[in-house]
């Protein structure tokens, strides 16, 4: 690690700050906390997908209960986010199954659950089909060059439609919050990614001023986007009950409720029409994307935006049109999930790329080499790239995985190998970072410094990585840097912990704090400075580099300060009896600027890759009449150790000059690639699949369509025989 010379913490695998607590069982997650006089809470939800509430009846003994409905909201009855369309508690209209209507609290959980709340509805006709939706949350068009010109220059036009289903974040710790009333205000503890989102939502809901609301993140058992916006809802519910009861209220979901009611990844249908020359050059790209937003807008507009900006993949083309819509359906709202729209659109782009290669008789590497973005090229939004490592990651991954040799060796067996080339913008899209105007503070301590940021530790290593950046910038040992809890009573608003921005954006602000602190210290040690000059706290705000320009109206310009680049190569084996797919080898090359902590960074890549394997193969949300039918871990399948191969991670460094020590984002990119790489590995076996998850049923159906050839077992060389209609039926019935 060449650039780490002289650095004592950055670039090294220091021990994580939260390690001892987490290995010894001392870390306190939301459900581990208790308060005197605590009440437990329960959410009564709609049992229809669309209609109106007509009547509410309580059966059972409700004496001593605190009961809250929309009439108890002192401020505005909304979950404040982007659009103000989602009520915190439904009033009359119901737009999806599991919409919260009434809240109950009682100190005794048995009694709480014994009460039966009967709600009478007048039902309306629901719409579950995004294509038939009459309500758009957002429409975006990106245009570059002229499609007519591009298609005129094409020898071949390749078209295709690609589909991705919902995905559940499935953090292992379910969502939860505790609200404690204090002095006319509220202190809210919870499992969350964005304390200041919750802070704002509570102010709006409760009609309270800034200083009457305090939000404290508790140790958080994973988020992946699932704890970006939804905690504002739970916090609101707990707070309404706590204010009415005048007692602390705990609201922690069980797994079923968490899966049925909270946000998921947007399902998407993406259509590609591409002009290409006979020798493989892209001349025109025309993409249409439809995202299913569910019943309320949540973050759909920005998910769509990121999705579309990444939709043409890391490829050069002069004539591009990308259009997309996020629409309303009567299903629970979809929201943030690691990757934020880009996994869906890059799935389509990369399956399509292999189909283009197939039609031209080119190999998948060659077609990507020809079209990969290079330094000086422009993206679909017209952003001119200074740095660009698309070719480097492609070549490194192809070489490391022996892609070409393996591709020949596996041909005609029940195994296949596929690849995906992808990229991911770090930080908020377009002018987002300027609007956020994030702040970070650093306070001098006797030994070193204490970090004050609202960026949360959700497992990804925020505390550790920020402390490394500060330690080396300030010139103190890593152990001498402490990290304050993400408590809105103590830390400035550093923006949300999302969008792969915690290291690159917030880390950079902290680095600037540390640079100034170092200057102020001069030759003094921290202890000497404090004795001579008294306390020293330095606060800095995000500063945009002058090179970044974005126009939100035309959707043109520098969509992101920088991009990470990556390539995945996956080998899979298909069981000829069960049609189950098993990934057997996984190579991934990531260029992320600079790995502040190589092991944490590779942990992000491995974890994101495993989630991507689940997205590709197992994780199917079965929606029946607008309701998730498989809302338990028994039938929503996430990868275990046995479904996840050893993941060979290679990190390339190409320092980004506006990132701390050259770092860019890493958290999200890893989930963009595995699904298309796996689907392309199936394509290598002759299975033409254009949809995920690639469940055995779908693979069997796609494989049966194939004429002539079939899957053979490589070792036993057993011929595949088409399953009888009985097995077919049994397989279809399965989940």
């Amino acid at each position: 690690m060449r650039s780490s010379r002289g650095l004592k913490a950055v670039g090294r695998n220091v021990l994580r700050k939260d390690g001892v607590e987490k290995v010894s069982g001392a870390a306190r997650y939301i459900d581990d906390l208790s308060f005197p006089n605590l009440l437990h809470a329960r959410t009564i939800r709609s049992t229809i997908p669309s209609g109106h509430v007509v009547d509410i009846q309580y059966h059972g003994d409700t004496t001593g209960f605190t009961i809250v409905d929309h009439r108890d909201v002192p401020g505005r009855n909304i979950v404040a986010l982007i659009d103000d369309d989602q009520p915190c508690l439904a009033e009359r209209t119901i737009r999806h199954f599991a919409e919260p209507i009434v809240l109950l609290a009682h100190e005794n959980r048995e009694r709480l659950n014994a009460v039966d709340v009967q709600i009478a509805y007048r039902e309306a006709t629901p719409n579950f089909d995004p294509a038939a939706s009459k309500t758009s949350f957002k429409t975006i068009a990106i245009e570059k060059g002229s499609l007519d010109e591009g298609f005129a220059a094409a020898d071949v036009v390749v078209e295709g439609e690609y589909r991705a289903g919902h995905q559940e974040q499935l953090y292992i710790e379910p969502n939860g919050a505790i609200a404690v009333p204090a002095g006319g205000g509220i202190t809210l503890y919870g499992s969350m990614q964005c304390p200041y989102y919750v802070h704002r939502a509570l102010k709006v809901l409760l009609g309270l001023p800034d200083h009457k609301v305090r939000v404290i993140q508790t140790e958080t058992g994973g988020g992946f986007g699932g704890k970006e916006e939804y905690p504002s809802m739970i916090a609101g519910h707990a707070a309404l009950l706590a204010l009415k009861a005048g007692r602390p209220v705990k609201l922690v979901y069980d797994r079923v409720e968490d899966m049925v009611a909270t946000t998921k990844r947007h399902p998407a249908v993406i259509h590609h029409r591409t002009g290409v020359t006979r020798d493989g050059r892209l001349t025109a790209i025309d993409i249409d994307a439809l995202f299913d937003g569910g019943a309320y807008a949540t973050l759909s507009a920005v998910v769509l935006s990121r999705g579309l900006i990444h939709a043409s993949g890391p490829y050069r083309c002069d004539h591009v049109r990308i259009r997309g819509r996020a629409v309303m359906t009567n299903t629970p709202p979809n929201g943030a999930f690691r990757g934020f729209g880009a996994p869906q659109t890059q799935l389509a782009a990369e399956i399509h790329m292999d189909r283009i290669a197939g039609q031209l008789g080119l190999d998948p590497v060659r077609v990507r080499e020809i079209n990969a973005l290079r330094p000086g090229d422009t993206t679909a939004t017209g952003q001119r790239l200074g740095d660009c490592s698309a070719l480097q990651v492609l070549r490194a991954a192809v070489e490391r995985s022996a892609f070409k040799r393996r591709r020949r060796a596996l041909a005609g067996t029940n195994r296949g190998i596929g690849l995906a080339l992808f990229f991911h913008g770090s930080g908020f899209t377009g002018g987002g970072e300027v609007a956020l105007a994030s702040k970070a503070s650093l306070a001098l301590t006797g030994r070193g410094a204490r970090i004050f940021v609202a960026s949360t530790e959700i497992g990804q290593g925020t505390r550790t990585m920020h402390a490394q950046i500060v330690a080396d910038t300030l010139g103190v040992p890593y152990d001498c840097v402490e990290v304050n809890a993400a408590d809105t009573g103590e830390v400035p608003n550093s923006g949300p912990t999302v969008a792969s921005r915690t290291c690159m954006v917030v880390g950079r602000i902290l680095q600037r704090c540390a640079e100034e602190m170092r200057e102020r210290l001069g030759t003094l040690t921290p202890g000497e400075y404090l004795r001579t000059h008294g306390p020293l706290v330095i606060t800095k705000q995000y500063e945009k580099s002058s090179a970044i320009a974005w126009d939100d109206h035309s959707y043109r310009g520098d969509a992101y300060g920088s991009y990470g680049w990556a390539c995945d190569v996956v080998e899979v084996e298909v069981d000829p009896d069960t049609w189950q797919v098993k990934p057997t080898a996984f190579t991934t090359v990531h260029e992320i600027g600079k790995a502040i902590h190589p092991m944490l960074a590779s942990g992000q890549i491995e974890g994101g890759s495993a989630q991507g394997i689940g997205y590709a193969l197992f994780e199917e949300v079965v929606m029946r009449d607008g309701r998730m039918a498989n809302c338990q871990l028994t039938n929503y399948i996430v990868p275990t150790t046995l479904d996840t191969p050893a993941i060979d991670v290679v990190m390339l460094e190409n320092p980004y000059k506006h990132g701390p020590f050259g770092a860019k984002g890493v958290g999200e990119m890893p989930i963009d690639g595995p699904a298309p790489a796996i689907i392309n590995a199936l394509r290598h076996m002759g299975i033409d699949l254009r949809e995920i998850p690639a469940t055995p049923e779908k693979i069997m159906a796609a494989s049966a369509e194939r004429t002539g050839s079939g899957i053979t077992k490589s070792r036993s060389a057993r011929r595949y025989t088409k399953p009888s209609s009985k097995t077919l039926h049994a397989l279809r019935e399965k989940p």
Partner: protein
Amino acid sequence: MAQVSMTVNGKVRKRNVDPRVLLVHFLREELRLTGTHIGCDTSQCGACTVLIDGRSAKSCTIFAVQADGSAITTIEGLAPDGQLHPLQEGFWEEHGLQCGYCTPGMIMAAVTLLQDNPKPSEREIREGISGNFCRCTGYQHIVNAIQYAANKR
């Protein structure tokens, strides 16, 4: 209500409990041993894994009354003398954890794995902890952490 008595992390604990109370709830709520986590309602995730009479088991699969007379070890009792257990050290050193929610259960499952097989292969480790879900790590660093502990013994 039924009387139960069990030895938890070396201490005898006697309580009157409702016969429907699961062991995991008994540990977390009666004894306030919150290092044992709950991640599901269907005995899938393994976040609640403890040692019952020296063997790892999911504590949401049995009632507290069924553990009457047993010796239970939770994550809090793994390192009674304040020194980290080699597995705890391994998970910290090798970054076998991120959010940490699965970690206590993972470690307890690994205790039994290493008891049965002190020098497991990667394959054997993966099989041994296949009943424990981790959504953060992709498992590779967890495997490394268990190997670290195996090599330390």
